[in-house]
């Protein structure tokens, strides 16, 4: 536990001692504003809720989170500091968890800084605040899902650009699998169970049900086990490729 904390502290400190944190947060908040007010039409809808914000969040995360996760391991491998890290008395699991938790907490900070949106709808009307809260919980879980993919991909390459592109593509597949046109493609020939399985892999399916205010155990289990699977893969990838 002490080791996870040490890695976590170093990583988190690193975000704020370099411009990464500030650039990420500023861009994230700007894009949130644009998506919510212009594209989502928060005012025109005439409803006091944050649906427009939560609708666009998966797409925003699709590009911003891989940008955050791409350096997690690729940078260690490129600079050779992975040799230092892996010869310190810590396990790979501890290193993976420490780094992941730091990045996840950081996305949590960025998400929390969107609170002016919440203040706005509360000023304008009487929104259903528990629904908004559950939306935020869902968004945080989803960010963890994106990050776990990105962290695993980042461990497989020394090149951050490759890590970014591949993480975006894989994340995109996990959004896409909930879309009707993808499911239609399978519907004609695959058994219903397979179609349901594909659909249930999607971030969108689970995220949208949480944003509607229904925190179902199965959605929570989905995100937690999704993160666990990708992090387990992450550990295996590092074990295999750390010295390449």
């Amino acid at each position: 536990m002490g080791n996870i904390t040490a890695i976590y502290k170093r990583e988190l400190g690193n975000y704020f001692s370099t411009p990464v944190a500030y650039v990420f947060i500023v861009i994230f908040l700007m894009l949130c504003g644009i998506f919510t007010f212009y594209l989502g039409g928060l005012f025109e809808r005439g409803q006091a809720d944050l649906q427009p914000f939560f609708n666009y969040l998966p797409w925003l995360y699709l590009f911003l989170i891989p940008a955050l996760s791409m350096r997690l391991w690729a940078e260690e491998r490129r600079s050779g500091s992975i040799e230092l890290l892996m010869t310190l008395p810590i396990s790979i699991t501890q290193a993976v968890l420490g780094k992941f938790l730091a990045a996840w907490f950081f996305t949590g900070i960025a998400l929390a800084l969107t609170f002016p949106l919440w203040l706005t709808v509360n000023y304008l009307g009487q929104p259903d605040n528990p629904v908004i809260l559950s939306g935020y919980i869902g968004a945080f879980l989803m960010a963890g899902g994106y990050l776990a993919i990105g962290s695993c991909i980042s461990a497989a390459t020394k090149n951050q650009v490759i890590a970014f592109v591949i993480a975006v593509v894989i994340s995109f597949l996990f959004i896409l699998s909930g879309f009707p046109f993808v499911l239609d493609f399978f519907k004609d020939w695959a058994p219903q169970e397979i179609v349901n399985a594909i659909s249930s892999l999607s971030f969108l399916t689970h995220f949208s049900s949480i944003t509607k205010g229904v925190i179902d155990l199965k959605d929570i289990v989905y995100f937690v086990s999704f993160i666990a699977c990708w992090l387990a893969a992450n550990i295996i990838v590092i074990e295999m490729k750390k010295s390449d």
Partner: protein, 312 residues
């Protein structure tokens, strides 16, 4: 403290390390010598648990590197080749991270960090970002990181590479000073360094141990060791070579150089015997005019080449 038995490493079809065995005791400094790509770094990486082992075993302070890698890593201070560090951290915060991972807290942590900074002479750059430091300082940051927890075993891959002569001297002093109560392995291709700090030298080439002994023994292996160089004025007699060859203990005589009025002979002894006085005696007896006479020490370079070039 370090026991290596029949250690091997295979990368696909390439045998990087081939059946190496040795042990290092407390108070000993072992120097790995060898051409680039000989397997020195690979061996070190296996001892420190960074690379997996293809065959054989490594144990450090009684812990097996395969079964309890964390225990092994706890007792080792390791300076990897090129001294990698987290470039965008300051020296102080980097060492603070290392101290956290090594399990130090509070005043003990502070003490350890300051001690490492002092030993590695980093006082002037404590709050500078590592990326902005010169190569010599970066190497010393790596050194500070390795000695922070005062480990019983130190493994350093080319600790003086890229340092200027003064810094090299300082690092060597530091290693010597620490060697009393630690088992140390360093790798280098600077041969004088072996002479200066190592109690034992090991030459590795093509993944195999070619030599394992003291630097003195290494010198003795040189064909030139204890040979006498004799320069005479003019040609005093036609049978100089014959006379020199008859001196007791002399193996053979070679004409090393002859120009205008001077002629130089190299006289090789049998079994590294000391033949200087016997040769001197002959010179006196014959009344030759001596321009210069010297005894050669074996040069490590010669031995290094003898041992590593032949079969590549």
């Amino acid at each position: 403290m370090i026991e290596v038995q029949n250690l091997s490493k295979r990368f696909d079809t390439f045998q990087a390390v081939d059946d190496i065995s040795f042990s290092v005791n407390k108070g000993e400094v072992l120097g790995f010598l060898g051409p680039n790509g000989a397997g020195k770094s690979t061996t070190m990486k296996m001892i420190t648990g960074f690379l997996s082992i293809s065959g054989g075993s490594v144990s450090v302070c009684g812990a097996d590197v395969k079964k309890s890698p964390i225990d092994v890593k706890k007792s080792i201070g390791y300076l990897p080749e090129g001294a990698p560090a987290y470039g965008d951290m300051t020296v102080k915060s980097f060492l603070s991270f290392i101290a956290d991972v090594r399990g130090f807290h509070g005043s003990e942590k502070e003490k350890r960090i300051n001690n490492a900074i002092e030993k590695a002479n980093l006082e002037s750059v404590t709050y500078k970002t590592i990326d902005t430091l010169s190569k010599g300082f970066k190497r010393r940051v790596g050194l500070a990181q390795a000695i922070l927890h005062d480990p019983p075993v130190l493994i350093m891959d080319e600790p003086t590479d890229g340092l200027d002569p003064n810094q090299k001297h300082e690092v060597r002093l530091l290693i010597k000073e620490m060697s009393k109560d630690k088992a140390i392995i360093i790798s280098t291709h600077i041969l004088e360094e072996v002479d200066a700090i190592c109690d034992r030298a090991m030459i590795i080439a093509n993944g195999k141990v070619k030599f394992d002994g003291t630097p003195k023994e290494l010198e003795n292996m040189s064909v030139n060791h204890n040979s006498v160089l004799l320069t005479l004025d003019g040609y005093p007699s036609l049978n100089v070579e014959k006379l020199l060859g008859e001196v007791e203990g002399v193996d053979r005589v070679e004409l090393a150089n002859s120009e205008s009025e001077k002629v130089t002979y190299r006289i090789f002894p049998e079994d590294n015997a000391l033949i200087e006085s016997a040769v001197g005696h002959l010179v006196q007896q014959e009344g030759w005019v001596v321009d210069a006479m010297s005894v050669e020490k074996g040069r490590l370079e010669d031995v290094f080449r003898q041992l590593t070039v032949g079969d590549q």
